[in-house]
Structures are given as structure tokens and as C-alpha cells.
């Protein structure tokens, strides 16, 4: 039959197109990795493969010193501060939305959180400049631009996303399990702490690590409030610079063709390596229902 032949032809070509799209995306991912790897390798080679580049804190482009250890440490500190602040709030919102709220409150909360999760990070940075930085200056003294300010801004930025993800996880605990737990004489608190949160742990871990990845990768919201200090560590209330903010700053200072431009690739590679570890960790043992 003509028609069947035509259908078969369409079927084959559509399958090929889908495969081509997948190949395109796979190549794109590979290309990104390669470009960064080549740039980073060249830079490390030009520095004679010295480990001090990663561990040291001497960053002085004019004098030819490119050690990025401080930015790695600041990235970790800012991320940790943000997660420590967002975790209790996000969990609270999730517990309320999944177990306490009435049906309409739950719907309203979900819609609100989705809208808030889509608020651009630059708006959070703007709020940080308007509220957090002056606030910290008044309370803690110093410039206000600080690791703590960056952490606080990130925490507010991540709260809706993490809250929503955690809410979905808690919502997936089957009603049967709640009833079985309560029927054994658990109070609502015991049911929450000893059953619901415990069985949700793998999912909550994934939600948490997703938020960590976003915190590590955020640029402008952090750049606006962190102060951009590249010389030495100044404490939580002092300014600093993370890997992402430093890439942004130095794209202007180290233009292409500059011998040290590759240090930007190196910073990107380190960020991606960190994110890869997070992804692997998030996916491990996540097979449970």
C-alpha cells in the first residue's frame, strides 16, 4: 500500500530527526566541556602545573599572580551560609504546605512559591543592596558588603525553589503510611519526625543538593553584595569574591588573548567539577520509592 509506505517513511525520518537533536545536544555538552578543559589545561601548563594555583590566595593579575584558592573557599562559605539559612525556612514551608494547610491554602501556596521562584536573581541582589548591606553595616559595622550578605541574599533567592521542591517530596508520602503511623498511636509530631521526614530523606537530599547547585552557580545576586575583595580573607562580615563573581569581574580585566585568560576556564572547570560531584551524590541511592 502507498499509504503504509509513506507512513513508514515519515516514521523513519522523524526518528532520525529526534536522534539528530539528541546528538546535537550531546555534542554541545561535549564541546562546552572540551573548550573549558583546553583553556584550563593551557593555563595550568603556562603555570608549570603548580598546585599553588588552586590552593594559594595570592591573586594579583597586574603582578602576574593567579591563585584562586580564596575564591574556592569563599564559594563554599557563601553556599554553606545560604543553605544554613534557607534549610529551616524551606522545610517549614514544605511541612506547612504538605501537611498543615487546607486544600485552598495549599494551592495558593504552590502558585505563590512558583511565582516567587521565578523572580530574577538580579532583583534579589537589588534587595540585598537596599536592605541587607545597609542593615549589616549598621549591626555589624564594616562595609556591609560581605560573605554574610551574599549568603542572606542567596538564602532568600533559594527559599521558594527549595520550599517547593521539598513540598513536592513530602506530598509524595502515601496517605496509607500516615494512617498506619497514626493508628499505632503516633502524635502528629512523632508522625512527622519519625515517619514522614525519615522516609522523605532521599528526596529531601536531592532537593537540598539542587538548591546547593543553584547557590554555587549564582552570579549577579552575589556579585552585587559581596564586595569583590580579592586580597585575603576578611571573615563573614567582610567582603570577598566567589568563583562566579570573579569570572564576571575578570572577563573585562583579562580579555581574550591575554595570557592568563585561561584562569577563567580553570575557575569554570572547578565549578563544574563541584557541581558534578553534587549531581553524583544527589543521584546515589535515590532509587527508593
Amino acid at each position: 500500500m502507498e499509504r503504509q509506505a509513506l507512513n513508514g517513511w515519515i516514521e523513519r525520518w522523524q526518528a532520525r530527526l529526534l536522534w539528530a537533536a539528541t546528538l546535537l545536544v550531546a555534542m554541545l555538552v561535549l564541546a562546552i566541556t572540551l573548550v573549558l578543559a583546553v583553556g584550563a589545561t593551557r593555563f595550568l601548563q603556562s603555570r608549570g602545573w603548580r598546585l599553588g594555583v588552586l590552593l594559594g590566595a595570592n591573586w594579583n593579575p597586574l603582578a602576574g599572580h593567579f591563585e584562586i584558592g580564596l575564591f574556592i573557599v569563599d564559594t563554599i562559605i557563601v553556599t554553606a551560609l545560604a543553605m544554613a539559612m534557607t534549610l529551616p525556612f524551606g522545610l517549614g514551608v514544605a511541612v506547612f504546605g504538605a501537611y498543615v494547610a487546607s486544600s485552598w491554602e495549599r494551592t495558593a501556596l504552590r502558585w505563590l512559591l512558583t511565582v516567587l521562584a521565578a523572580v530574577p536573581s538580579v532583583a534579589m541582589g537589588w534587595w540585598g543592596l537596599a536592605v541587607v548591606v545597609p542593615g549589616l553595616r549598621r549591626i555589624g559595622g564594616g562595609p556591609g558588603f560581605s560573605l554574610l550578605a551574599a549568603g542572606a541574599v542567596l538564602a532568600v533567592m533559594l527559599l521558594p525553589t527549595f520550599g517547593l521542591l521539598a513540598l513536592e517530596v513530602l506530598d509524595k508520602v502515601p496517605e496509607d503510611w500516615h494512617q498506619a503511623s497514626l493508628a499505632l498511636g503516633a502524635s502528629e509530631d512523632q508522625n512527622l519526625l519519625q515517619m514522614a521526614l525519615r522516609v522523605s530523606l532521599p528526596g529531601l537530599k536531592t532537593a537540598f543538593l539542587t538548591a546547593v547547585a543553584r547557590a554555587m552557580g549564582e552570579t549577579v545576586a552575589v556579585q552585587m553584595v559581596i564586595g569583590g575583595a580579592v586580597y585575603g580573607f576578611h571573615g563573614m562580615l567582610g567582603p570577598g569574591a566567589t568563583l562566579t563573581t570573579q569570572i564576571l569581574t575578570d572577563m573585562a580585566i583579562l580579555p581574550l588573548g591575554h595570557p592568563a585568560h585561561g584562569v577563567l576556564d580553570l575557575m569554570a572547570v572547578i565549578l563544574l567539577a563541584g557541581l558534578t560531584l553534587l549531581t553524583i551524590w544527589a543521584q546515589r541511592g535515590d532509587e527508593r520509592p
Partner: protein
């Protein structure tokens, strides 16, 4: 307070505080943005050193760049999603590809900006422009569409799929007539969110689309967006009314992102309602 429900009360308190803090951001932005508001801002060009500048080109750039980026990345990403859910062989490397895509979903935007800067702007000699920025947005969006699309498609019940195949439909017919329509509301929901995410993107665009606007719109014209303008004016703006310009830009930007998310959600809810599924059941 009922006994044994202490943590429920605590969670309610936390929710109120959390929402208050996040809404503080929006309310402050609305207050400052409306303080010096004039509708002419939407139609004028920005001014570098004088008051009263507008954001018309930024508005056009934002909408056009996000639309173009979606036009490229949404179909290609969905094609990957369909391939991954329905065509992929059960091979180990497919699992790896999925994992890599999930990882790239959280690639920092600044890294995408860096790559596009190095390849297009340096490699091919493109200017900081609408074109470079659009490509950066598309690259940023691709893994997200593929991963989220695959998640949505895999939630279409398997029995529907098997039923369709058992009735003699080909695989691609099943995809077009069954899978995509069944997943449509969830896909629209995701599209709205990805639209908002791209419109609010800053880091990937500063060194690809640039921080200037051209006299007219064009692929190789400077392509500053609302988000970049918001960032630039707030951190480096030299016009006397930079406070008002920044807040007004931010307010317009947040309105656009919230509008995209809410619009998509309402659209999806309407489709579900027509199919006889309550809004609350799909959240």
C-alpha cells in the same frame, strides 16, 4: 494548641515569616519602582547621563531574545526528551547522557556566558549582540527543556502508551496524538517557568548581549535586556535618577516573569478544567 502538634504550629509560623521576607523584596521593588513611574519610560530610549531615560529597547530585546531562544531550544529540547523517553535503547551510555544532562541543567549561567564569549565573540568575531545573547540563552535552556520534558513525558501512564501501540498506532503517532497532548498542561507550565527564567537571566548576557542598546533592533545590534539594564544601572548607573530607573526596570522585569509563570499556569489549569480535572489536583 493541640497536644503533639507543636511542629505543625512551628511550620505555620515559619511559613508566614518566610513568605513575608520574600514578599518584602517584591513590595519594596513595587514601592520604589512606582515612586517615579511614568509610562513614557516604556517608550523612550535609555539616557546614559541625564534623567528621564526609558527602557523601550531593553523591553524589545528581552521579549525578542527570549522568544527566539525558546523557538530554537524548546523544539530541540523536546525532541531530545521524546528520544530519551520513547526511542532510547536500554544502553548504559543513555543513562550517562541523562545524568550529564541533569548535571548541565544546573550549569552556572556565567559559565555559559564565558563559553559563548570565547567561541562566538572571539572565535567567530560576532559583536556583543542580540545574536550572541540569544545563543547563550538557548544553550542555557536546552538541557533544562530536555530533562524537564523527559520527566513530564515519563509521567504519562505507560498503559496509555501501550494501549495506543496495541491498537496499531506507530510510535511517532503515539507521540504526536497521545503523549504530547496528555503532557500538554505540564509542558505549558514548564514553558512559562523557562520563559521567566530566561527573561530574568543576567550573568550569561553581560558579556554576550552586552550592556548597550543599538539605534534599531537587529541580530548583530547590541542587545542589552531588562535584567542586564537593571543590574547595570543599579551597580554602575551614572544618570541622576538611577535609583528610579533601576527600580522601574526591575518592576517591569518582575511583572513580566510573574506574568509568564501565572499565565502559563492559568492556561494549563484551563486545559485541565476542560478535561474535567480539578485545579487543586494538579497544584
Amino acid at each position: 494548641m493541640k497536644r503533639g502538634r507543636r511542629w505543625y504550629a512551628v511550620s505555620a509560623g515559619i511559613t508566614v515569616v518566610a513568605l513575608a521576607i520574600v514578599l518584602w523584596v517584591l513590595l519594596l521593588l513595587a514601592k520604589d519602582g512606582l515612586a517615579g513611574w511614568h509610562w513614557s519610560r516604556l517608550t523612550r530610549f535609555p539616557r546614559e547621563l541625564r534623567s528621564g531615560g526609558g527602557i523601550a529597547p531593553e523591553l524589545v530585546n528581552t521579549v525578542s531574545m527570549v522568544m527566539l531562544a525558546e523557538c530554537f531550544s524548546a523544539p530541540v529540547g523536546m525532541a531530545v526528551a521524546v528520544w530519551l523517553t520513547d526511542y532510547a535503547p536500554p544502553a548504559a551510555w543513555v543513562g550517562w547522557l541523562k545524568r550529564v544532562l541533569i548535571g548541565f541543567q544546573s550549569i552556572p549561567a556565567i559559565v555559559v556566558g564565558l563559553i559563548v564569549y570565547q567561541t562566538l565573540v572571539d572565535g567567530l568575531g560576532w559583536p556583543l549582540s542580540v545574536g550572541s545573547g540569544t545563543i547563550a540563552l538557548a544553550v542555557l535552556n536546552l538541557p533544562a527543556v530536555a530533562v524537564l520534558g523527559a520527566t513530564v513525558l515519563s509521567e504519562v501512564p505507560g498503559r496509555l502508551r501501550e494501549g495506543s501501540l496495541a491498537l496499531g498506532a506507530t510510535r511517532i503517532q503515539t507521540v504526536w496524538r497521545l503523549m504530547l497532548p496528555a503532557a500538554l498542561p505540564a509542558l505549558i507550565d514548564q514553558l512559562g517557568y523557562s520563559w521567566a527564567r530566561l527573561a530574568g537571566e543576567t550573568a550569561a548576557l553581560i558579556f554576550t548581549a552586552g550592556i548597550n542598546v543599538g539605534p534599531r533592533w537587529g541580530w548583530f545590534q547590541p542587545g542589552e535586556t531588562l535584567a542586564v539594564h537593571f543590574w547595570y544601572v543599579r551597580t554602575e548607573g551614572a544618570m541622576p535618577d538611577w535609583r528610579m530607573v533601576a527600580a522601574a526596570t526591575g518592576l517591569v522585569l518582575v511583572t513580566i516573569t510573574a506574568g509568564a509563570v501565572l499565565g502559563a499556569k492559568l492556561w494549563a489549569a484551563r486545559i485541565l478544567a476542560k478535561r474535567g480535572v480539578g485545579v487543586s489536583e494538579r497544584g
